[in-house]
Amino acid sequence: MITLKINNTEIEVENGTSVMKAAQQMGIDIPNMCWHDELEHFTSCMLCLVKDAKNGNLFPSCSVKATDGLEIITDDSEIKEARQTALELLLSEHVGDCEAPCQIACPAHMNIPLMNRLIAAGKFDESLAVVKRDIALPAVLGRICPAPCEGACHRKTVDEAVSICLLKRFVGDEGTEPEIIPGPKTGKKVAVIGAGPAGLAAAYYLQLKGVEVTLLDKNEKPGGLLRTAISEEILPKEVLDKEIEMMLKPGVTFQGGKEIDTAFFAQLKNDFDAVILATGTLPENAEFFGLKATPKGIIADRDSYQTSDPKVFAVGNVLRSSRLAVRSVGQGKEVAFSVLQFFSGQQPTGEPRMFNSRFGKLVSAEFSEYLKESVNEKRTFPEKGGHSSFSKDEAIAEAKRCMHCDCRAIDNCKLREYSHQYNADQKRFKTSERRNITKSTSHSSVIYEPQKCIKCGICVRLTEKHGEQFGFTYIGRGFDVEIGIPFNEELKDGLSKIAVKVAEGCPTGAISLKNVD
């Protein structure tokens, strides 16, 4: 047995144990990407650097065996900076998007590519369920949203953006409302003041989380500006009523005709565990509510929407006047998260935004690569013209134009997780032109995107170990080294036996399972 000290705590480990494994035995997480439990250490990614406490030298803990008397520090500011720098270097050669640009551009952060894929597969109900995770009013927004997502769509660089907004409208209209299974009752009560897009969304997502919601509005009917400011031709009242009804039905109490004054506001604060202010326009007597405000709107935290009164949150146009209903809807969703954090005694921070790798605009050489996962067809327009919707066939055809820009490893990527954890900045080493993206799609179960590769060699070593005839190999050296199949054989020939194992072993989305949805 070996005795060593990790972060000033003594530990005994078996002979031959690596320092990384020793630390893990103590429950200390050491980031690593080139390590694979089936394989020998390789010392490539350098994320597992730790410090020898005696001489201050950094060394890769995956490759150094624990020795008696060793004293290790696993986490100080220098080690953090080393790992952050290593990640930033890796990110500088990692060409790929985590989330698709459309999703990042969407103020409600909706998972658009997944919605598209489900529509393309004819799964409209599932598609609606995906939409409603982020957008409470798809049929409504599908008619009025200016669609910032389509401005960011990579397909726009190739020919024309995917008609995302109309697709959302299509599932909003055609999909069966997902069955709402409210979460366990929290026993908390929230008053939402104002039943415009922001208030409606807040109420919807809070009830999903087991909160008892009372939605109040000065008008008799909910809808706010959606009801008053948009023409019947663009947004028929029937559509609005139906969608609002569906979302409030499970358990939101709506009280119309309620003007809020200072006394009533104080009353609400007293009766409810939290109050969400979503009145659209700034109440003239806002100051009387005791909340800090500027002439433009209530002051609230940008991420959590908490106002100067911890119990009061504010979303929508009450913060800043905007014609973007989707932003209000998104805020309504996010504030629900903050309120729940508030209830559980945490400091409200709002929904966490994961790190996103982004490469910028597609270049023409990449069009054909991206089209491998799509169809080379022109944008579809509803045949009926005017303000009409897609037919089923039209919707499927259009959804197929989506190029699957989102990474398949989005929830299973060490590079993304650690980049998030260490607050890495992908732009730091943007010192020269990026590589062009290519995609190998010939394999039935995996897809290979070499420019996402970080050269950890796990695939090379796994295919060697398991006796793949061709397998993966290093080609070239230095910065230009690539991982490929020898003799330019097809991906399916390189991975004839252990494709799934290799995809699962890849620490990024370079080799990933084709169908993850």
Partner: protein
Amino acid sequence: MTNQFQHIDKLIAEKGTERKSLIPILQAIQNEYNYLPEESLKYLAEKSNITPAEIISVASFYKQFRMKPSGKHIVKICVGTACHVKGATLVHDAFKRHFKLSDTEDTDKDGEYTLEKVSCLGCCTLAPVVQVDGITYGHVAPDQVDAVIADFESQQGKTEGKKYRKADGSEIKGEIRIGLGSCCVASGSDEIRKEVEKVAMENNLRVNLKHVGCVGMCHQVPLVEIVPNDGEPTLYAKVKPEDVKQIVESHFEPPTFFARMKNKIFNLAEEIQTDRNWEGVQRYEISMREKPVASFLGNQVPIATEYRGMINPVDINEYKSRGGFTALTKVLQTMSPDDVVAEVKNSGIRGRGGAGFPTGIKWELVKKEISDSKYLICNGDEGDPGAFMDRMLLESYPYRVIEGIIIAAYAVNIHQGYFYIRAEYPLAVKRISKALEVCYENNLLGENIMSSGFNFELKIYEGAGAFVCGEETALIASIEGSRGFPHIRPPFPAQQGLWGQPTLVNNTETFAQISYIIREGFEKFKNIGTERNSGTKVFALAGKVARGGLIEVPMGITIRQVVEEIGGGIANGRTFKAVQIGGPSGGCIPAEHADTPINYESLSAMGAMMGSGGLVVLDDTDCMVDIARFFLSFTQDESCGKCTFCRVGTKRMLDILENITSGKGKQGDLEELEKLAEWTKKGSLCGLGKTAPNPVLSTLQYFRHEYEAHINGVCPTGKCTKLITYSVNDKCIGCTLCVQKCPVDAIPFTPHEKHSINTELCIKCDACRAVCPEDAIDVR
């Protein structure tokens, strides 16, 4: 194809079917086809135990291997440090224009010529150097491309003439020594040899003709030394074939010829004028008076280079007659292995490969390991683009290196050894092969060496071109038939090296000094040099010094002594600016610190490194940012690509340097460069990455103002082409020479009028400035 496959079958039968045979097999295939045909490799994978993945990973790792057919002739442009500072990039660009190559092409349309950049041809004193197949051209200027190619083509189809050499060796009047080191051969010494043989034959002279290795006077090649039986030897430098007759006859025929020749020759005893150059393409730039050559040789202590110029490299009897193998005899007959280790330890010698680990201790470490099959490796994978010491030692003193190796093997109890030599050093491979053969014949290798009961097998392993393989764990991976990926130490090779066995890896120069220590005793060695840095160090002195070449100096000598006393100061009346010591791992020490003594510790303290011993002198025309960029582009290309900080870190540093030298630098770049350099040092796995930032950090330390100037859009020395423009000043006399030289017609033909340069068309090739007789071209 059948032939091709038969060839592979034969190779497999000869070299084996296992992975360790992969590199030799690939080398043999490439020798046959001048590239690696994919069909051959597939067939190899099918018929051997080597997988396609292994074949491709190795074939694509080493520089030697080509995956596409090359042209009939290979044009190698040396872009080593010495050539770089003398304008190799412009030469390369000129060849590219000549062959009309785009940025992605390397072979001309007709498939005649392939253009290649190589890191060092080992002829630094002839910089810039271009090699076309077997012919080397020195001092090539960008406007000489046509001449070089024309000259090369004129040599084609010429068969070698008969060898003129007398068979009977009686009545010898003296000896004629002809330098046949790389620089000498490159400068045409082989032609001189033929001419000497011819003259000797015609005159029925009874003289010994002797081929000697490098004498370290590479700036004066080709060299011929006449050693009469009576009288002083005379050394002739820069000899032309037509001089030979008169030189030879002046010594061995009536003296009237001598009188006629007197003002043409160079003599050891007098001041010499070295302005006699090869005509045509061999254009030497130095046209100045030099100090006597004697002082050049005199300030040094030859140990590894003992008897330089006096012994025929492959003649074992000559080596023996000058004390060769007496150390080995002493060891085998009178010393126990422990005695030998103690002697080496006491001498204080430290590894000459650069890091300076005490050699005796390394021997002890391997010695104490218990294993039946330990290995010894002589590291001759010299990869520093500005150094050629190992090459010279291997070419000129093969027996001395072998003797040191056998002594080490005996001391450490090793029975199998490898000479790892770069395949780019064909002459070294040839000489060592010959010397090994002779040693086996003479019972100096093999079973029961000199009846001592000690057995030792030694063979050559040809490296395939990877700087990182100078790192011992990468070198071992390479011998095992893999990519030169270093691995983490521990385990050190002393414990687990080649095929997992304890392995002693020493540098060529270290081995070359062993026989001296044993023969003369450790005290004598220890008394040379300084307290913690005993003995001597061989350097390749190159760059802007008046006299370049191989030097061997005692440790502790100052940089100034080397540059001024040995190198004869800066050439062409320029000002001494800095020395680059240690190549890509080293740094630049500015002139104001020239009194720094040369030893492992003081160089490190200055941000440089002993490294492998490249010593490139820079003058006031050299841009320090460009030097840093040059080394980074080298290390970036040579990084094995395994660990993040080296693979990506060096690339990003290079990016920043390229941005700075092309006018795209911005505030904050220097700080980022420094940070990244520090992290690359701290976070890299092996020595290559850990030292790669040194050229950047040392120039940032001493020449930060030059970096700042670049960021402000000015290259103070006018070297960075993207930051300069060419223009004509009022000194112009309208002679049209520049017009005729301009390769892109950027100067209109206006005879007798002041010329002008169209900066839109100008490619900044420097041809106009070089040709202008009136100094009328301004570069700003």
